[in-house]
Symmetry: C2
Subunit: 433 residues, 2 copies
């Protein structure tokens, strides 16, 4: 095959060069991750502060790189919302630098002794936290993810290999260069943060394949099609979630005012985040009393309701179709189903939920405990809004996403969740009988 | 395609039937796992005791099923060692039942609150342990793994889908039937333990593909080719290890007698287990003093030594070739390399090790700490034998294997490591500002 690439080189040579580049990134990442793991907590904190400073120092570089991305995006006719996500104003650059400095102040999880015990033979066994290694992060347009994700990896002693959206390539490159300068100044390897420098989608394929065994996990951050591709094709473990199909169940014994406040907040505070409620479940026993005030409040807040037959019997709304129960609207649209008690609610959630975040509103503590212990989601809440599904709200300081996997970590993924443990065993010459 | 299968049905129809059977096992496993997770700790303990009793009750069934496997194995000319692994004597059946009863007495990890904190807004956040879900275990000839693995899954609230070696199919089937009866008698779903009933290797392919998304993790237990296939082809996360290429580094400041005792035990106590030492690293500074007595003791215990040039300069032995440094001998053969100090040892381990278990022998505490914190293996030991790499020796009571993965769990995988956590959040009507 000798189809000429845009650069004039044969396509085969181009893809071989890309493959070699990507393998090289993996090897550099692994080497950097070892140096980062061997560094002290103080050295990692110092590097994060230095990274924050270099971001500020290079603010005009960042702004001009971003201007190039913005210009290209306008020429491609990107929506106002997309342009807004892409733009790096001076305030946003300052906020980004502050975010990195905030991460420098977070507790460093590496070296923590999680558990410790002594065996009858005198062996002291400790389970000690340490970095995972090399973390690949694939994300879409927002360029500030480059700084957030890079910083959280450094905080947890991991090397990051970042692949941002092609529309933010110049911005991300300027950010990554500033972060790497910050690492260098602080005496840590700049390859702890590497950015894929090409918009070629084949680069993602190499990351999914694991960069020759050097990539330890992948974190996709973006829309459904990106996450679906990563989950389907990755040859390395993936931390993330496909969708947040979050439910709030209003039990018969709910406080009606609390039910209204939680339902409106869970749906309407921000409709586009993964913790936004998508389906409201109402107990058939409290239906006439509970649903109408909630429905009116949601409609007053600008929400379209799509209800099943029983819901529509007490409040007029659009008829829901089967697909509504499994749709993450991410819009001011809410599916409303009437269920028979907590068992009906739990059956609905088991069938349609995405194991992300689900809530119950009730004043009955036994029913609440049953819901909390049975519903198998990353986050279950009693008498609180599903919009609390967020690392910051959990007090983790920063997160790289929310996980719905069945292993390693569920819920908000902060620095601690980007670690693994090993066993350190101290003896005095013990041998096994 | 209508190639007739040995059963006379067209191959396509046969493989479609197998695919449907396997998907059905996945669905049954998931349903059973939910019931098992919802059951109390006491119910799971009771079921394990019941499983132990039904194993004893059916000992003559087990013995006659095993006799069929033994007869077929003898006819196929299996080695004496293989026949010994396969045989279920009355004593072994009793020991197997006792093993299950011991697991009933282990702490049940599900429901443990691992961490708990209150946010400034009053939300109480708890990280609570629960089962992973459905665990696939693929193993080779030893039929007692059917009981061990099934029991440890029930203890941790997980459903097990077991695929044993074809040579132990009758034995495993009799064991699985006894365990299922035990579950039934105790009022838990028998599908919490399912055994793949066919010797068709395509069944393994279905497990590797994840049984329609119902299988949450895979645990391979067996030889290198099995583990390699599972790690290469699995579409679900794998917990296990490919090899245990364990090192013991004898530092210049080692106590010479302790060094001899640890080296002989680490290599020769049992040469076929994953925690057996495969490479001895000797500090060049203590070479003349430390190596000869260790070498003599190992040779006296029946070990063949393969050394590099510097090792051979102080004790005659077979010249080591490059492949020896990356060979898991699993035999009374030891590779011996001379390294320059702890840095040389850590470089050798980083290059050739399998991140399983590595040890240092030294009386110098700073050097020991450097080794323990830097060597990135599941288990690192100071002044103790690598043969302690075992769930029982760690006090976990039972294990399903040793993991060298970079996520979820490393080291011995006991009941606790077969769990994940979720967040339980308790509020009083909080909404997110």
């Amino acid at each position: 095959m000798t189809i000429p690439s845009p650069l004039g080189a044969p396509a085969g040579a181009h893809s071989a060069a890309l493959a070699a580049d990507m393998l090289d990134m993996g090897a550099r990442g692994q080497a950097a991750s070892r140096a980062l793991a061997a560094a002290s907590r103080e050295a990692r904190s110092k590097a994060l502060l230095s990274m924050s400073e270099t971001l500020l120092k290079h603010h005009s570089n960042l702004a001009s790189a971003n201007a190039r991305d913005m210009e290209a995006a306008r020429a491609r006719g990107l929506s106002a919302a997309m342009l807004d996500r892409l733009e790096l104003t001076r305030n946003r650059i300052t906020a980004m630098a502050k975010g990195v400095a905030d991460i420098a102040a977070l507790p460093d999880p590496c070296g923590d002794v999680i558990a410790e015990w002594t065996r009858p033979n005198g062996l002291l066994i400790q389970r000690v936290r340490g970095p995972i290694g090399v973390i690949g992060i694939i994300y879409e347009s927002r360029p500030n993810v480059t700084a957030d994700a890079g910083a959280i990896c450094v905080r947890s002693g991991n090397a990051a290999i970042l692949r941002g959206g092609s529309e933010s390539l110049h911005s991300s490159r300027a950010i990554a260069e500033a972060l790497r300068e910050g690492l260098r100044v602080a005496g840590l390897p700049e390859d702890a943060i590497q950015l894929v420098q090409t918009a070629d989608r084949a680069a993602v394929g190499h990351m999914l394949a694991g960069l020759g065994g050097k990539l330890d996990i992948l974190v996709p951050r973006g829309g459904r099609s990106l996450v679906e591709r990563v989950q389907a094709e990755a040859r390395v473990p993936v931390i993330g979630h496909l969708e947040g199909l979050c439910h709030t169940f209003i039990h018969e014994a709910a406080d009606p005012d609390m039910a209204v406040a939680i339902a409106v907040n869970a749906k309407m505070r921000r409709v586009g985040i993964c913790g936004a409620m998508e389906t409201l479940l109402i107990d058939s026993k409290g239906l006439e009393r509970l649903l109408p005030p909630i429905a009116r409040a949601l409609e007053a807040a600008g929400c379209e309701l799509r209800g099943d037959e029983r819901a529509r019997s007490v409040h007029p709304m659009t008829p829901a179709v089967e697909a509504d129960w499994s749709t993450e609207h991410l819009a001011p649209i809410l599916s409303v189903a009437v269920v028979d008690g907590v068992d009906g609610a739990m059956r609905h959630i088991a069938r349609y939920g995405s194991q992300h975040t689900d809530a119950i509103v009730t004043e009955n503590p036994e029913i609440a405990e049953l819901f909390l212990s049975t519903v198998d989601s990353a986050i279950v809440l009693h008498n609180a809004s599903t919009q609390f599904a967020d690392g910051g709200e959990f007090g983790m300081g920063a997160e790289i996403g929310i996980a719905t996997s069945r292993i390693h970590a569920r819920g908000p993924v902060g620095a601690e969740q980007l670690t693994i443990f090993k066993y350190v065993v101290r003896g005095r010459g013990q041998t096994r009988p």
